[in-house]
Symmetry: C2
Subunit: 129 residues, 2 copies
Protein backbone atom coordinates (compact mmCIF):
# COMPACT_ATOMS: atom_id res chain seq x y z
CA UNK A 1 0.00 0.00 0.00
CA UNK A 2 1.02 3.55 -0.51
CA UNK A 3 1.54 6.05 2.27
CA UNK A 4 -1.13 8.77 2.40
CA UNK A 5 -3.42 6.69 0.25
CA UNK A 6 -6.50 8.54 1.45
CA UNK A 7 -7.06 12.20 2.34
CA UNK A 8 -7.61 12.93 6.04
CA UNK A 9 -11.28 13.78 5.47
CA UNK A 10 -13.63 15.58 7.85
CA UNK A 11 -13.25 16.09 11.58
CA UNK A 12 -14.98 13.33 13.52
CA UNK A 13 -17.96 14.57 15.56
CA UNK A 14 -16.68 15.88 18.91
CA UNK A 15 -19.74 14.48 20.70
CA UNK A 16 -18.54 10.94 20.01
CA UNK A 17 -14.77 11.30 20.40
CA UNK A 18 -12.23 12.36 23.00
CA UNK A 19 -9.37 14.15 21.22
CA UNK A 20 -9.13 14.81 17.49
CA UNK A 21 -9.97 12.26 14.81
CA UNK A 22 -10.74 12.51 11.11
CA UNK A 23 -13.05 10.47 8.90
CA UNK A 24 -12.70 10.02 5.14
CA UNK A 25 -15.85 8.33 3.86
CA UNK A 26 -15.00 5.94 1.02
CA UNK A 27 -18.31 4.08 0.56
CA UNK A 28 -21.62 5.32 1.99
CA UNK A 29 -24.14 2.71 3.12
CA UNK A 30 -26.80 1.76 0.60
CA UNK A 31 -29.35 -0.99 -0.03
CA UNK A 32 -27.29 -2.88 -2.66
CA UNK A 33 -23.97 -3.58 -0.94
CA UNK A 34 -25.28 -3.13 2.66
CA UNK A 35 -21.79 -1.94 3.58
CA UNK A 36 -20.15 1.36 4.46
CA UNK A 37 -16.40 1.94 4.46
CA UNK A 38 -14.40 4.84 5.90
CA UNK A 39 -10.73 5.51 6.63
CA UNK A 40 -10.38 6.99 10.12
CA UNK A 41 -7.33 8.88 11.43
CA UNK A 42 -6.91 9.20 15.21
CA UNK A 43 -4.42 11.73 16.58
CA UNK A 44 -2.24 10.44 19.46
CA UNK A 45 -4.36 9.73 22.55
CA UNK A 46 -7.69 10.20 20.77
CA UNK A 47 -10.49 7.64 21.13
CA UNK A 48 -14.10 7.20 20.22
CA UNK A 49 -16.93 6.71 22.71
CA UNK A 50 -18.32 3.37 23.70
CA UNK A 51 -20.60 2.30 20.83
CA UNK A 52 -22.13 -0.67 19.04
CA UNK A 53 -23.01 -1.62 15.46
CA UNK A 54 -26.23 -3.57 14.94
CA UNK A 55 -24.82 -5.10 11.73
CA UNK A 56 -21.26 -5.61 13.02
CA UNK A 57 -17.98 -4.02 11.96
CA UNK A 58 -14.54 -5.03 10.68
CA UNK A 59 -11.50 -2.81 11.32
CA UNK A 60 -8.23 -3.06 9.38
CA UNK A 61 -5.41 -1.15 11.10
CA UNK A 62 -3.46 0.74 8.41
CA UNK A 63 -0.86 2.56 10.55
CA UNK A 64 0.12 3.01 14.17
CA UNK A 65 -1.09 1.04 17.18
CA UNK A 66 -4.80 0.50 17.81
CA UNK A 67 -6.20 0.21 21.33
CA UNK A 68 -9.46 -1.75 21.32
CA UNK A 69 -11.77 -2.87 24.09
CA UNK A 70 -15.02 -4.79 24.21
CA UNK A 71 -17.26 -4.30 27.25
CA UNK A 72 -16.30 -6.73 30.00
CA UNK A 73 -12.96 -7.73 28.43
CA UNK A 74 -9.42 -6.37 28.86
CA UNK A 75 -8.10 -3.74 26.43
CA UNK A 76 -6.30 -5.27 23.45
CA UNK A 77 -3.56 -3.88 21.22
CA UNK A 78 -3.42 -4.32 17.44
CA UNK A 79 -0.78 -3.20 14.99
CA UNK A 80 -0.82 -2.15 11.33
CA UNK A 81 -2.05 -4.89 8.99
CA UNK A 82 -4.13 -6.59 11.67
CA UNK A 83 -7.89 -7.11 11.55
CA UNK A 84 -10.48 -6.67 14.32
CA UNK A 85 -13.94 -8.24 13.94
CA UNK A 86 -16.67 -6.78 16.13
CA UNK A 87 -19.89 -8.79 16.33
CA UNK A 88 -23.30 -7.12 16.08
CA UNK A 89 -24.43 -5.51 19.34
CA UNK A 90 -21.06 -5.73 21.10
CA UNK A 91 -20.23 -2.51 22.96
CA UNK A 92 -16.64 -1.37 22.27
CA UNK A 93 -14.25 1.53 21.63
CA UNK A 94 -11.08 2.06 19.57
CA UNK A 95 -8.25 4.55 19.91
CA UNK A 96 -4.72 5.61 19.03
CA UNK A 97 -1.97 4.95 21.54
CA UNK A 98 -0.84 8.00 23.53
CA UNK A 99 2.39 8.50 21.59
CA UNK A 100 1.46 8.02 17.92
CA UNK A 101 -1.33 8.55 15.43
CA UNK A 102 -3.35 5.52 14.34
CA UNK A 103 -5.40 4.95 11.19
CA UNK A 104 -7.79 2.18 10.30
CA UNK A 105 -10.29 1.22 7.66
CA UNK A 106 -13.74 0.75 9.21
CA UNK A 107 -16.01 -1.61 7.28
CA UNK A 108 -19.58 -1.55 8.58
CA UNK A 109 -21.33 -4.76 7.56
CA UNK A 110 -25.03 -5.63 7.27
CA UNK A 111 -25.87 -1.92 7.36
CA UNK A 112 -29.51 -2.75 6.64
CA UNK A 113 -29.58 -3.68 10.36
CA UNK A 114 -28.24 -0.30 11.51
CA UNK A 115 -25.00 1.67 11.52
CA UNK A 116 -23.91 2.78 14.98
CA UNK A 117 -25.30 3.65 18.41
CA UNK A 118 -23.08 5.97 20.46
CA UNK A 119 -22.84 5.71 24.25
CA UNK A 120 -20.76 7.32 27.00
CA UNK A 121 -17.21 8.64 26.69
CA UNK A 122 -14.24 6.37 27.45
CA UNK A 123 -12.62 7.48 30.69
CA UNK A 124 -8.87 7.97 31.16
CA UNK A 125 -8.94 4.97 33.49
CA UNK A 126 -10.46 2.77 30.77
CA UNK A 127 -8.11 4.16 28.11
CA UNK A 128 -5.02 3.60 30.24
CA UNK A 129 -6.10 0.24 31.65
Amino acid sequence: METQLFPKGEQAPADYFVGMAWVKSLVPADAIWNTSIAHVSFEPGSRNNWHQHSGGQILIVTSGTCFFQEKGKPKQIYKAGEVIKIAPGVMHWHAASADAAMTHLAVNTNTQKGLVDWMEKVTDEEYES
Copy 2:
Protein backbone atom coordinates in the same frame (compact mmCIF):
# COMPACT_ATOMS: atom_id res chain seq x y z
CA MET B 1 -1.21 3.72 5.18
CA GLU B 2 2.04 1.92 5.42
CA THR B 3 3.87 0.37 2.50
CA GLN B 4 3.84 -3.45 2.56
CA LEU B 5 1.01 -3.43 5.05
CA PHE B 6 -0.01 -6.99 4.11
CA PRO B 7 2.04 -10.03 3.11
CA LYS B 8 1.74 -11.10 -0.53
CA GLY B 9 -0.20 -14.24 0.40
CA GLU B 10 -0.90 -17.28 -1.74
CA GLN B 11 -0.69 -17.55 -5.52
CA ALA B 12 -4.06 -16.87 -7.13
CA PRO B 13 -5.55 -19.93 -8.87
CA ALA B 14 -4.10 -20.13 -12.40
CA ASP B 15 -7.44 -21.32 -13.76
CA TYR B 16 -8.98 -17.93 -13.06
CA PHE B 17 -6.10 -15.59 -13.88
CA VAL B 18 -3.85 -14.70 -16.82
CA GLY B 19 -0.37 -13.91 -15.45
CA MET B 20 0.66 -14.03 -11.81
CA ALA B 21 -1.39 -12.67 -8.94
CA TRP B 22 -1.36 -13.23 -5.17
CA VAL B 23 -4.14 -13.27 -2.64
CA LYS B 24 -3.80 -12.52 1.08
CA SER B 25 -7.06 -13.45 2.80
CA LEU B 26 -7.81 -11.00 5.63
CA VAL B 27 -11.38 -11.97 6.53
CA PRO B 28 -13.04 -15.22 5.43
CA ALA B 29 -16.77 -15.15 4.72
CA ASP B 30 -19.05 -16.19 7.57
CA ALA B 31 -22.69 -15.97 8.60
CA ILE B 32 -22.24 -13.06 11.07
CA TRP B 33 -20.57 -10.32 9.02
CA ASN B 34 -21.59 -11.72 5.58
CA THR B 35 -18.39 -10.20 4.22
CA SER B 36 -15.03 -11.47 3.00
CA ILE B 37 -11.96 -9.27 2.54
CA ALA B 38 -8.69 -10.03 0.75
CA HIS B 39 -5.71 -7.99 -0.42
CA VAL B 40 -4.83 -8.97 -3.99
CA SER B 41 -1.50 -8.25 -5.72
CA PHE B 42 -1.39 -8.37 -9.54
CA GLU B 43 1.98 -8.52 -11.28
CA PRO B 44 2.29 -6.20 -14.33
CA GLY B 45 -0.05 -7.32 -17.13
CA SER B 46 -1.89 -9.89 -15.01
CA ARG B 47 -5.69 -10.01 -14.93
CA ASN B 48 -8.45 -12.17 -13.60
CA ASN B 49 -11.08 -13.90 -15.73
CA TRP B 50 -14.52 -12.53 -16.40
CA HIS B 51 -16.55 -13.21 -13.24
CA GLN B 52 -19.49 -12.05 -11.15
CA HIS B 53 -20.38 -11.83 -7.46
CA SER B 54 -23.96 -12.64 -6.49
CA GLY B 55 -23.66 -10.41 -3.40
CA GLY B 56 -21.64 -7.63 -5.05
CA GLN B 57 -18.08 -6.43 -4.45
CA ILE B 58 -16.20 -3.26 -3.51
CA LEU B 59 -12.58 -2.77 -4.61
CA ILE B 60 -10.21 -0.22 -3.04
CA VAL B 61 -7.07 0.29 -5.14
CA THR B 62 -4.08 0.42 -2.79
CA SER B 63 -1.19 0.82 -5.30
CA GLY B 64 -0.60 1.02 -9.02
CA THR B 65 -3.18 1.44 -11.77
CA CYS B 66 -6.25 -0.78 -11.95
CA PHE B 67 -7.84 -1.70 -15.26
CA PHE B 68 -11.52 -2.57 -14.81
CA GLN B 69 -14.25 -3.51 -17.25
CA GLU B 70 -17.91 -4.39 -16.89
CA LYS B 71 -19.50 -6.44 -19.68
CA GLY B 72 -20.84 -4.16 -22.41
CA LYS B 73 -18.97 -1.06 -21.19
CA PRO B 74 -15.57 0.42 -22.07
CA LYS B 75 -12.54 -0.43 -19.94
CA GLN B 76 -11.97 2.06 -17.12
CA ILE B 77 -8.81 3.06 -15.28
CA TYR B 78 -8.59 3.65 -11.53
CA LYS B 79 -5.66 4.80 -9.44
CA ALA B 80 -4.52 4.20 -5.85
CA GLY B 81 -7.04 5.41 -3.27
CA GLU B 82 -10.02 5.07 -5.62
CA VAL B 83 -13.03 2.81 -5.04
CA ILE B 84 -14.88 0.56 -7.51
CA LYS B 85 -18.38 -0.70 -6.66
CA ILE B 86 -19.55 -3.74 -8.61
CA ALA B 87 -23.25 -4.54 -8.34
CA PRO B 88 -24.47 -8.11 -7.79
CA GLY B 89 -24.53 -10.19 -10.96
CA VAL B 90 -22.49 -7.77 -13.10
CA MET B 91 -19.86 -9.60 -15.17
CA HIS B 92 -16.45 -7.88 -14.95
CA TRP B 93 -12.67 -8.26 -14.70
CA HIS B 94 -9.82 -6.36 -13.05
CA ALA B 95 -6.11 -6.18 -13.84
CA ALA B 96 -2.79 -4.45 -13.41
CA SER B 97 -1.56 -2.18 -16.17
CA ALA B 98 1.13 -3.66 -18.44
CA ASP B 99 4.00 -1.68 -16.91
CA ALA B 100 3.40 -1.81 -13.12
CA ALA B 101 2.08 -4.02 -10.35
CA MET B 102 -1.34 -3.19 -8.90
CA THR B 103 -2.83 -4.07 -5.52
CA HIS B 104 -6.36 -3.71 -4.24
CA LEU B 105 -8.50 -4.65 -1.29
CA ALA B 106 -11.44 -6.78 -2.42
CA VAL B 107 -14.48 -6.59 -0.14
CA ASN B 108 -17.12 -9.16 -1.02
CA THR B 109 -20.48 -8.03 0.32
CA ASN B 110 -23.68 -9.96 1.08
CA THR B 111 -21.70 -13.20 0.92
CA GLN B 112 -24.78 -15.13 2.09
CA LYS B 113 -25.89 -14.68 -1.56
CA GLY B 114 -22.72 -16.24 -3.01
CA LEU B 115 -19.05 -15.40 -3.46
CA VAL B 116 -17.90 -15.59 -7.08
CA ASP B 117 -18.67 -17.33 -10.37
CA TRP B 118 -15.72 -17.55 -12.75
CA MET B 119 -16.16 -17.39 -16.53
CA GLU B 120 -13.87 -17.22 -19.58
CA LYS B 121 -10.40 -15.67 -19.72
CA VAL B 122 -9.95 -12.01 -20.71
CA THR B 123 -8.40 -11.84 -24.18
CA ASP B 124 -5.46 -9.60 -25.07
CA GLU B 125 -7.87 -7.60 -27.25
CA GLU B 126 -10.15 -6.97 -24.28
CA TYR B 127 -7.23 -6.20 -21.96
CA GLU B 128 -5.67 -3.74 -24.41
CA SER B 129 -8.95 -2.15 -25.54
